[in-house]
């Protein structure tokens, strides 16, 4: 399941660093609520650990995967029975140095030919980020190694077998993308993984 909540910018802008602290707390709160709702887990009894590349994981529960993201105005968390990565960004002006560094030539062309190039830029960015977060390597994986193909319909492909993507554009301002990896054979819960995780959005 994917959990999202909108964050009030003016409140959190009152102190330096307040926006980040609020966003992090909100994302963690979403994780706690999700673990309680989906697995009946009490956050007071949970321990967190980090993988080789720093990806947080739930100690003692290898079949429960999660990932956080937050950006200006939004916090989100994804919980899944397989490797999962989630990324959100508020759409703003696309940046040329990032275009050159992270996108293939085909992707750059697709962005420039899109009706809304800035939104297209962040659609691709969050999809790539969700993939590298799902595999647990982050930017070290190399974003150009994740060529994204967005068709006219809802299908998204990165050429890696077993990886599924899901994307939402929220409030006309934010893009959120989720990538789930192959479900391990014998995982207790495969519900919904063949298509996409359910989205649970909270305003305010």
């Amino acid at each position: 399941m994917i959990y999202l909540c909108r964050l009030p910018d003016p409140f959190s802008d009152c102190v330096p660093g307040g926006r980040r602290l609020l966003a992090h707390a909100a994302a963690f709160g979403l994780l706690e609520a999700g673990l309680r709702a989906e697995y009946g887990l009490d956050s007071g009894r949970l321990w967190f650990e980090r993988g080789d590349c720093g990806k947080p994981a739930l100690a003692g529960f290898p079949d429960i995967h999660f990932n956080f993201t937050h950006c200006a105005g939004l916090a989100a968390c994804a919980i899944a029975p397989a490797a999962v990565g989630i990324d959100a960004e508020r759409v703003g002006p696309r940046r040329e140095p990032v275009m050159k560094r992270a996108y293939t030539q085909e992707e750059r062309l697709w962005i420039e030919r899109s009706p809304d190039p800035d939104e297209a830029f962040f659609r691709l960015w969050t999809l790539k980020e969700s993939f590298v977060k799902a595999v647990g390597e982050g930017l070290g994986y190399g974003l150009q190694r994740v060529p994204i193909v967005l068709g006219d319909g809802p299908r998204v492909s990165c050429g890696r077998k077993g990886f599924h993507f899901s994307q939402r554009i929220l409030w006309g301002t934010h893009v959120v993308s989720v990538c789930t990896g192959p479900v391990p054979a014998g995982a207790a819960d495969r519900t919904g993984m063949e298509e996409e995780l359910a989205w649970n959005k909270t305003d305010g």
Partner: protein, 74 residues
């Protein structure tokens, strides 16, 4: 050089200026996400007139790491 880099950093994250010390970690202490970090790298290249390799960029964890790396390129 620290003050110059600090100015760039504070354009990309909502952090307390006092927290931007050489020991500060970009992700854990300053709140950088991947996109902010990539944007900052682009501006560092422009301001310091250097070319940052992606394989090196992902190894930069602290402000001090960034200062050492920029110095090594100049």
């Amino acid at each position: 050089m620290l003050e110059k880099l600090k100015g760039i950093i504070l354009k990309y994250v909502d952090a307390d200026p006092a927290a931007v010390t050489p020991e500060a970690r970009f992700v854990e202490d300053l709140g950088f996400n991947s996109y902010d970090f990539m944007c900052m790298v682009g501006e560092v290249e422009e301001v310091f007139d250097v070319e940052v390799q992606e394989r090196d960029a992902v190894k930069i964890k602290t402000v001090q790491d960034a200062l050492h790396y920029i110095e090594s390129l100049q």
